[in-house]
Amino acid sequence: MLELNDVGVRFGSTVAVADVTLTVPEGEVLAVLGPSGCGKSTLLRAIAGLEELATGTVALDGTDLAGVPTHRRGFALMFQDGQLFRHLDVAGNIRYPLSLRRPNPDRRPNPDRARRAAPSAVTERVEELLETVGLPGYGSREVSTLSGGEQQRVALARALAAEPRLLLLDEPLSALDRSLRERLAGDLRGILTQTGTTALLVTHDHDEAFTLADRMALMFDGRIVQHGPTQEVWTRPATRQVAEFIGFSTFLTGDPARRVLAATEARTPRQAGTGGSSADAGRSTVDGDGSTLALRRSALRVDPAGSLEGTVVSAGAISDAVRVELDLDGVGVVEALADQHATLRAGDRCRVRAHAVGMARLGP
């Protein structure tokens, strides 16, 4: 289990990271999500021992890591562009950690490690890892001949070869194009679960965080503003800043908020694992106390059976739906979705249905 307690990092007089207290239970994946420049990569480097802490402690399984140099921590790092060693081939890269003997007294003895000296065992292990990441037989390939996705897979195999006590991932999929990113994210999640690897991921992409992580922490300006199980953060953002960052696009207060809530279906499909629809909670409290109703665009769908009505301001196709900007009567301008085949033009009138999934109530 990784425990961060009051971690802070400074560069000269600039505070890059402050007051970070987080835990990652063994075998779980934590995503630190934040905009670029928020200090998340610095936090990652500090955990790896590459930056000195100004305050606080980093502890693994109850042992404070202060003074333990990076190479003795038993971690592995994976970057968005792989950072494979260009002068080695694929197998050479994966073999790299296998050829390093690292004193790791608190590790369970592992048959693979005991056999490390035998070259055939190493070769076997490399091939095994290549199969794990879906690149069997790639051992003799030059790194420069690999595509971006393949490089990331090799980087993952190299990191797994170290059997890290903690895997640190710095935007592991951000450099890849969209379809590849989605596929690799699924694979990566599968591999992390299957190998029981404890991992900490930093990213600015909320989808990446949502797919990969069990828990999520949001970081702005060097501070963690919210953390908890991924599902919980996803449905109950603590602040408007968090809500905007994880994809809520419309924010309503007062009468408009009440009107949308009133139109929200009483029986809505609930997402598994949440305590209850946040709209339920919102309905009772949104009145009068100045709180805000946050909507993802999926919360409002153009539907002839809907009870809200509005005028189309603009509409544009996105990959699997039509994104509509609507001036909703008595509510104002909101974002909504329509079915892919919908033909909407500016000025058209249409009806809209509100769904509790995709709504969240923010405190004042």
């Binding site: 790896a48 190479h71 592995a76 790092l77 980087a155």
Partner: protein, 551 residues
Amino acid sequence: MGRHRDRLIPALGVGLLALVPLAFLAVFFVLPVGGMLMRGFHPDGAWDFSGVAEVLGRPRTARVLWFTVSMAAAGTALTLLLGLPLAFVLYRLRFAGRAVLRAVVVMPFVLPTVVVGVMFRALLSSGGPLGFLGWDRSWVAILLAYVFFNLAVVVRTVGSMWEGLDRRAEDAAAALGASPGRVFRTVTLPALMPSIISAGTLVFLFCSTAFGVVLTLGGLRYGTIESEIYLLTTEFLDLQAAAVLSVIQLLAVVVMLALAARGRARTEQSLTRTRGVARAPRRADGPLLVVAGVVVGFILLPVLTLVWRSLRDGGGWTLDNYRLLAEPGASPALRVSIMEAVENSLRTAVDATVLAVLLGLCVAVVVSRRPRRAAGRRVVSALDGAFMLPLGISAVTVGFGFLITLDRPPLDLRTSAVLVPIAQALVALPLVVRTIAPVLRSVDPRLRQAAAALGAGPLRAASTAEGPVLWRPLLAATGFAFAISLGEFGATSFLSRPDRPTVPVVIYQLISRPGVDNLGMALAASVVLALLTVTVMGLVERLRVGSVGAF
């Protein structure tokens, strides 16, 4: 028709542009060097290679070759050993005063070789701070001067590579369990290897063709190939032996550059370059900081000693040495006052600079074209190589070649004052090209294509795309050529007339004569010359052209 013309005119223009420097190279390089070699191998109207074996068989030749190679190897190894920690400290760490230290480290490289020689004499001769070591006029002094002179090459070449090296590869290795030493060996070193090979080759080249330093520090006791060629031609008039050694040197240089290019190509990785990876020093950097401090001290010591001794007279402080600079009859060794020599030097340097920069610009424009046809590309790369040749041939050979070939009509320049600037321009030309061409090559050709697509003619398109980036390297090359010309000694020592010597020549004349006044004046003149070149190069440095002196 029109399309045809549009293609033909630029090609013709580039061709014409290449003709001028080619003609210059033919008359002032191929002809003199060829003349010198003919004198050696074709003495009495018939080819005669019998001397080759004889010259090579001489014990003295073997000694000179051994001294040249072993000293150059030792100098290269030592320079790399001391230069790498310094490169790390100056390019990977961030601390107050780093810019000043970088300037200090670069300074020796721009100092004239004769001045470096005088510095080490001042340091190591009796009366100098390190006189008790007894290293004056020994091979140790030459070795130290090699290292002093070339540290800048290693620090700049390797440092600029190191500066842009993505530290995340090292981080990844460290996280995987590699100790700092192992990270350096398995990740950093392979990535730096091309630049280390480049720098090492260059240092070896500079060490093995050293002339001014060897002559001022070793006198006639030690000889490199270059100083031996000088001796053979001026003292013994053994032109055949000199020709043999010239050819050996040329071959060695060409082979070395080719090997280096191959080594570089083999170790080159497609590296991701980043910016701003320098970090504040940590406790673990302590040992490297100490090494770097010692090396900087080693650089400053001879410099400060030179200034200090130029201001000392017996037991007290004095400006006499500087006062003597203006006096015409101050030393029996000289026919003119040193101030007059300074004036000569400056005037010569202006001429040489104008010549070198004009020709260099032509060459750079030509060799930075990328013709579509393979044949065209081969021509361009052949031209590129041809203008590097003056680097490989001994400046002494060029100087002497001038004297024996340009002494009769239609080109009787023997008594003309233009020979010195021409020779100096020839020496500076490759470096001018190497400063300008990389910048021109770095301009994305699509920029020119975009301009052309918008309706700009070939010339207009070229000036739109390349004009704005050109002035910095052009200014830098101008300063660089000026500094080189000011300090040039090899060819100038042959060509300058006794009544119009340049400063390096005067300094050499002064220190090769005994006498306290002579040494004092040499010290003062060295300070003046050093100040001049350092000022010029300081201005160049401010232009921040990455490719100054790059190969």
